[in-house]
């Protein structure tokens, strides 16, 4: 899961704070659909020129790494994705049916069991220094990123490739499963395990191509304007902890990519300055003070933003706010306590949480996997709707079976991150049907570590997708081997088998059906987790000044499609 910013860190906000998102029944669903993915019809009226100052992307602190090989936060990858284009991109123009399209890859094909993928690279693409983008540009990148002396936090992704783990472990000089043929313009990748969703994964920023000039470059590269890529923008100057300035890459031409992505030939704006702020409230004040054109919504200021500005509150984000259940906890976990978990889930008034805590701006979750993920289906959870009578009945049945609670159920969360009111509503909801529960705030710095080490009973969690695949929510969170061994104790062989089958199924509809079955086992048969809400967008801007600003479900803005209303 990517962080938006450490401490700053992103996620703390998204996952934790109150920001965000407008309810589904927003203003105009038709408009929303048209906006997704850059809205090519609107783009015909957009004009080149002008400069933008963004106060949102780094509103929670600066960056550690802009090199896509090393970057980990959403804000960092906003820059990386603007400087580097990867093999594929997800087209969200139909939010209900997002599709993977080719960026640098013209096409791709796999063998029958989805273990070998061959990508054909488009001719005529260049890095901003004029050197060509070739299959070997990717091979170079992968080898650099998996060098154990250099590897970043996402380098484990290279273990997807055959021989990738050996390279990461220092047992091999190169990844045997990646072969580049510059003459044929093909990049052939052999995977360690079948992975039908691999084209979506390979679009992740860690897999960006690298120019020859990146050869031998370490962390110092990203601290200079020498870090060049093949994306729509390039660094105007060395990035600092005060600002990162991007200007259009003259070598880039978005019309060479898949037409459905709706990209312009060149970015509309002549310069974007991403201003760093160490404090989100200050960043919002900066926006109100007219120091930039784009701001980030912050807790307690959402209504003010909605009243005065345009926002991306209608744009869904690939993130889920949920409560993890420790299946090994005798009070609440395991098959004997399924009715108790059902009672808890049905007792929670998710709409009240949305209204009272999030100012009516989140989407009440009806499953774990959010809208925007290919294969998404609404309403997979049978017990996620507020139904106090059914909850009462389930709790009674659980008690009639000889069970009882000797002490309140502890509900854990990371303190001082905006979760207190959510937990309080849940405690009140549970109290209304007679289930005793108590809030157990935990130190934020160590929260996830402690929970994963077995401290969780019923603990708050959040997840933002790394890449837009169903398995990034199911497999990476709930499989028996998830998270280095699934310390939350959820393990169901039927669930695991369905996921394994889905991952190797190349037919999208069949794969989606398998994922749905797995998610229903998780949510309905086992009640292995309790979804609360899905995240939505977080940007604010003046529509008289900024045009065509759309937040992708990946949380990213496609900056090359953003324009000034009157440049």
């Amino acid at each position: 899961m990517r962080r938006q910013r450490r401490g700053i860190k992103l996620l703390a906000l998204i996952l934790g704070l109150s920001l965000v998102a407008a309810a589904c029944g927003g203003d105009d669903d038709d408009d929303e659909g048209a906006q997704q993915g850059g809205g090519s019809e609107d783009q015909q009226d957009l004009q080149q020129g002008g400069e933008l100052t963004d106060l949102s992307t780094f509103s929670q602190g600066g960056w550690d790494h802009l090199d896509p090989t090393l970057s980990t936060t959403v804000s960092e990858s906003q820059i990386g994705d603007s400087i580097f284009d990867t093999l594929t991109e997800v087209d969200y123009s139909d939010i209900d049916n997002p599709e993977v399209r080719g960026e640098v890859a013209e096409s791709w094909e796999s063998n029958d069991d989805a273990t070998e993928w061959t990508f054909t690279i488009r001719d005529g693409l260049s890095f901003s220094d004029g050197t060509p983008v070739l299959p070997s540009s990717f091979k170079r990148s992968f080898e650099r990123a998996s060098d154990p002396d250099f590897a970043g936090d996402y380098s484990y992704l290279f273990s997807f490739f055959e021989g990738g783990q050996d390279k990461l472990d220092g047992k091999a000089d190169e990844i045997s499963g990646v072969v580049a043929d510059d003459d044929a313009m093909t990049l052939t990748t052999t995977l360690a395990e079948p992975y039908a969703n691999f084209p979506a994964v390979i679009g992740f920023h860690t897999f960006a191509p690298m120019p020859e000039s990146a050869e031998g470059q370490g962390v110092e590269w990203e601290q200079t304007a020498d870090m060049i890529g093949n994306g729509p923008f390039m660094l105007e100057s060395a990035p600092t902890q005060q600002q990162v300035v991007l200007v259009p890459n003259p070598e880039w031409d978005g019309t060479k990519y898949a037409e459905e992505l709706g990209l312009p030939a060149q970015p509309y704006v002549e310069k974007i300055t991403f201003v760093v702020s160490q404090d989100q409230d200050t960043a919002w004040n900066s926006f109100l003070a007219g120091e930039g054109e784009i701001g980030q919504l912050t807790s307690g200021r959402i209504q003010e933003a909605v009243d005065n500005y345009a926002t991306t509150l209608n744009d869904p984000v690939l993130g889920i706010y949920y409560f993890q259940i420790n299946q090994e906890d005798p009070r609440i976990g395991g098959p004997d306590n399924k009715l108790l978990r059902q009672a808890i889930s049905q007792a929670i008034d998710r709409d009240e949480i949305n209204e009272a805590v999030y100012e009516g701006t989140r989407t009440t979750a009806t499953g774990i996997t959010p809208p925007g993920i290919p294969g998404f289906q609404e309403g997979l959870c049978d017990y996620c709707a507020y139904d106090p009578d059914a909850a009462q009945q389930a709790y009674q049945e659980w008690q009639d079976a000889g069970n009882s609670l000797d002490e309140p159920i502890p509900i854990q969360f990371n303190a001082d991150a905006g979760h207190e009111p959510v937990v309080q509503i849940i405690i009140d909801n549970l109290d209304a049907i007679g289930i005793p529960a108590t809030a157990e705030p935990q130190p934020s710095d160590t929260y996830f570590g402690q929970m994963a080490d077995g401290g969780c009973v019923m603990c708050r969690a959040g997840w933002i997708a790394d890449y837009p695949t169903y398995d990034n929510f199911m497999f990476d969170l709930f499989s028996t081997t998830a998270l280095g061994g699934n310390n939350y104790g959820y393990s169901n062989s039927d669930f695991d088998d369905l996921l394994a089958e889905a991952k190797r199924t190349t037919d999208a509809d069949q794969a989606a059906d398998l994922f749905h079955q797995a998610e229903q086992i998780l949510l309905n048969d086992d009640i292995g987790t309790i979804p609360i809400n899905w995240y939505l967008g977080q940007y604010a801007y003046d529509p008289d000044v900024v045009a065509n600003l759309v937040q992708q479900p990946s949380l990213h803005i496609v900056w090359e499609t953003v324009a000034l209303a009157n440049p």
């Binding site: 450490r6 401490g7 936090d153 990461l168 404090d279 200050t282 004040n285 003070a289 570590g449 280095g484």
Partner: protein, 335 residues
């Protein structure tokens, strides 16, 4: 005097050693796996492979005593290591941040001394007047209001509202950032720089200025009643000379002590001020390093802060002799 200064300088060595060693041990004593925290474990679950990688890269799975001795071997050679997160050299981070902090601190100290002493002095001379009462109220307020709250209020009043009222650009102060970073003679802002400097400088100075004003007032009130003041007046000196040459100089002793002690308060205020105004100095970096558990950066910056604190207090102690020639440092201070 020289031997006194040398002894005080030598005392810095154990002070620094104890302070940094304590911090070092505290880092590992705190709950949570350091590698997990470095990888962002406060916000997400981290794959084991990433944790192994971080442990190996920074030797975090080595025995603590090995890490401890290795740290001090490097530190005595002024090799402060590299940031766990950005992998940048701490020496280079330090060089960059210290300059920004120093500039802000210089202006905060100027405000503190000029405003604090002047207000305290006037308040004492005009005791129980309206201005004295107002001073009491405002200094109490300034001491009580948290720096970040004051920061937000000032941003609202001097940046947000002027924008809504369409004031000319030059009349709007900036909410954050260091701006063009253009200076003359190291610390004098040039061009647009003052618009970025003024709010954080005031915020940083606010608490210590208020304390200084109150201390100056109290100290002056005591001095004004002293016999030697009456003697000075009886000699026919002008009131201004009586107050400034005889009164203020004598009242300065406790005030100077306060300035030295205030340095610690100022460091705390700098953490909040620099974070609130995104001033790229040591304070905001320390705050970030704490939240990131970026130990090398935290230790490197703390080292500098401890050194600065020690030096400031040596200067304060030495200055006693100037304010009061009866004090002879290094000879009869224990008598």
């Amino acid at each position: 005097m020289t031997s006194y200064i040398i002894r005080r300088l030598l005392l810095i060595i154990p002070t620094v050693f104890i302070a940094l060693s304590f911090l070092f041990v505290l880092f590992f004593a705190l709950p949570g796996d350091p590698a997990n925290l470095i990888a962002g474990g406060a916000e997400r679950n981290i794959p084991q492979q990433t944790l192994d990688q971080i442990n190996e890269r920074y030797g975090l799975d080595n025995p603590l005593y090995e890490q401890f001795t290795d740290y001090w071997q490097r530190t005595v050679q002024w090799d402060l290591g590299e940031s766990y997160l950005s992998r940048r050299s701490v020496n280079s981070i330090l060089g960059e941040k210290a300059v920004a902090s120093l500039r802000l601190a210089i202006w905060a100290i100027i405000i503190e001394i000029v405003v604090g002493i002047a207000v305290g002095l006037l308040s004492a001379i005009r005791r129980y007047s309206l201005s004295d009462k107002l001073t009491t109220i405002f200094t109490a307020l300034a001491s009580a209001i948290p720096v970040f709250v004051l920061g937000f209020v000032m941003q609202w009043l001097f940046a947000v509202k002027p924008n809504q009222w369409d004031w000319p650009e030059w009349a709007r102060l900036r909410t954050s950032g260091i701006g063009p970073n253009s200076w003359a003679l190291f610390f004098i802002p040039t061009g647009e720089q003052w618009r970025y400097l003024i709010l954080p400088a005031i915020a940083l100075a606010s608490v210590t200025t208020a304390l200084l004003a109150r201390m100056t007032r109290g100290s002056m009130l005591e001095v004004l009643r002293a016999d030697y003041m009456r003697t000075a007046r009886a000699k026919g000196l002008r009131e201004r000379d009586v107050v400034l040459r005889h009164g203020l100089r004598n009242a300065m002793l406790p005030v100077v002590t306060l300035i030295g002690l205030d340095f610690g308060t100022a460091i705390g205020a700098a953490v909040l001020t620099e974070t609130t105004f995104t001033w790229p100095g040591l304070g905001s970096q320390i705050a970030q390093s704490v939240s990131d558990r970026d130990l090398p950066v935290l230790l490197g910056l703390t080292l500098v802060v401890v050194l600065a604190y020690a030096f400031v207090n040596i200067v304060v102690d030495v200055s006693y002799a100037w304010f009061d020639p009866r004090i002879r440092l290094g000879k009869g201070e224990h008598a």
